[in-house]
């Protein structure tokens, strides 16, 4: 269940702007979108209602609009009456077309939102598919903090009190951007893409022990925040455990799995005197390097192996 209402098409912020204008049926704007599928209602308008997918989003392109324009006035009442007998989710007209007043009157009565967009039909449908994919994507809420460090979305995890928020604050101080603190909503946008964002309510707020809740955007300015970011590196902060082996080489790749998508994963032990933000910056840069095909640890290892072989022959 998506729990997303038709309202989302015009109010969804930070996402694709569908450039929709509501022209009728405002009273139906809180109807829930149950399916992201679309229908071109040409056949229904012509009176053929078999298999009419009324509960889908109805897209009126130039063809449908021309058909409505040419329809004799005396027939409209009957056609609209039949059409609006169905509990239609919503109607969207492209090319900035505005249907006649009778159509709008029916929509208003039946509580069916009617929108118009300046966009062309094909382009609009492409964008709508993106928006809908997002609405119906699998999500998971994580107790973590998400920061964009040098363009890499770094997910900071760890027990409360280990210093996630303080680390995020220090990273913001150093010019990086906060996405969400302590609660990250992760969306699986396709089989390899995890998008993280904060909740609308807590957006860009952070709690720092001793100060309380602060608004990072207000204090550090608009460049210190962003609304969403692809997650590319997961970091767990944990208190230094002398009995535990930490990665000293970086030759093996560890993985953190969210909704069956693997994200490179590292564990950073926290101890007084260790500058965690600098370590995270370095980890992010190292991740970028790996993305570009350069693995420092592996390359050094290769170099040493070659040297051992040549030295051995001497």
């Amino acid at each position: 269940m998506s729990n997303v209402k038709v309202r989302y098409f015009i109010e969804g912020s930070g996402r694709i702007d569908l450039q929709l204008r509501l022209i009728a049926g405002e009273n139906g704007i809180d109807k829930e979108i149950l399916s992201g599928e679309m229908n071109r209602p040409g056949l229904a308008l012509a009176g053929f209602f078999d298999f009419f997918a009324y509960n889908r989003i109805q897209i009126f392109g130039q063809g449908e609009c021309a058909f409505l324009d040419r329809m004799p006035e005396n027939e409209k009442e009957r056609v609209y009456f039949d059409f609006f007998k169905y509990d239609i989710l919503c109607c969207i007209f492209t090319h900035d077309y505005k249907p006649d007043n009778l159509f709008l009157k029916f929509a208003e009565e039946k509580r069916i939102p009617v929108f118009t967009t300046r966009r062309g039909t094909t382009r609009f449908i492409t964008l709508l598919v993106h928006v809908i994919d997002e609405v119906f994507s699998e999500t998971k809420t994580l107790h973590a903090t998400l920061v964009d460090v040098f363009g890499i979305g770094v997910l900071l995890m760890g027990k409360s009190g280990v210093g996630k928020s303080e680390t995020a604050l220090e990273l913001v101080e150093r010019g990086h951007r906060l996405v969400a603190d302590d609660m990250v909503i992760v969306r699986k946008l396709d089989e390899s893409l995890l998008m993280g964002a904060g909740t609308e309510l807590l957006k860009h707020h952070i709690e720092i022990r001793g100060i309380g809740i602060i608004n990072v955007r207000e204090i550090f300015g608009i460049r210190s925040v962003r609304n969403r970011k692809r997650i590319e590196l997961a970091v767990t902060l944990e208190e230094w455990n002398s009995g535990k082996e930490y990665d000293r080489l970086g030759l093996d790749e560890n993985i953190f799995s969210v909704m069956d998508i693997d994200v490179p994963f590292i564990t950073i032990p926290v101890r007084p005197g260790r500058n965690i933000p600098v370590i995270i910056e370095t980890a992010a840069l190292n991740q970028r390097l790996k993305k570009m095909g350069i693995n420092s640890a592996r390359e050094l290892d290769e170099k040493i192996k070659k040297w051992i072989i040549t030295e051995g022959k001497k």
Partner: protein, 87 residues
């Protein structure tokens, strides 16, 4: 592990101060404390996390704890919610 389900009845829901009361209590224990609403889990030791659940009057939540002192902390939080945070 222990968990209890409760419906929040205080009119103002869980805003900043009630959230703090929950977190302050949870912090006293070494066990994991989790609040769950609509399948979304929040860390009971994080103010932002608890606030993020957007608990309003009528919300049904689960208080879960795992580890040392789990019974006490769950009882305390459930009691706190039952009394409408007027402890």
């Amino acid at each position: 592990m222990i968990e209890k389900e409760i419906v929040v009845n205080s009119d103002a829901g869980v805003h900043a101060r009630p959230a703090m009361m929950i977190v302050r209590e949870a912090m006293k224990y070494s066990c994991e404390v989790t609040l769950i609403k609509d399948n979304v889990e929040a860390d009971g030791k994080s103010i932002m996390s608890v606030l993020g659940l957007a608990i309003i009057s009528g919300s049904k939540i689960i208080v879960r704890a795992k580890g040392e002192g789990e019974d006490e902390v769950v009882d305390y939080i459930v009691n706190l919610i039952e009394k409408g945070f007027s402890a």
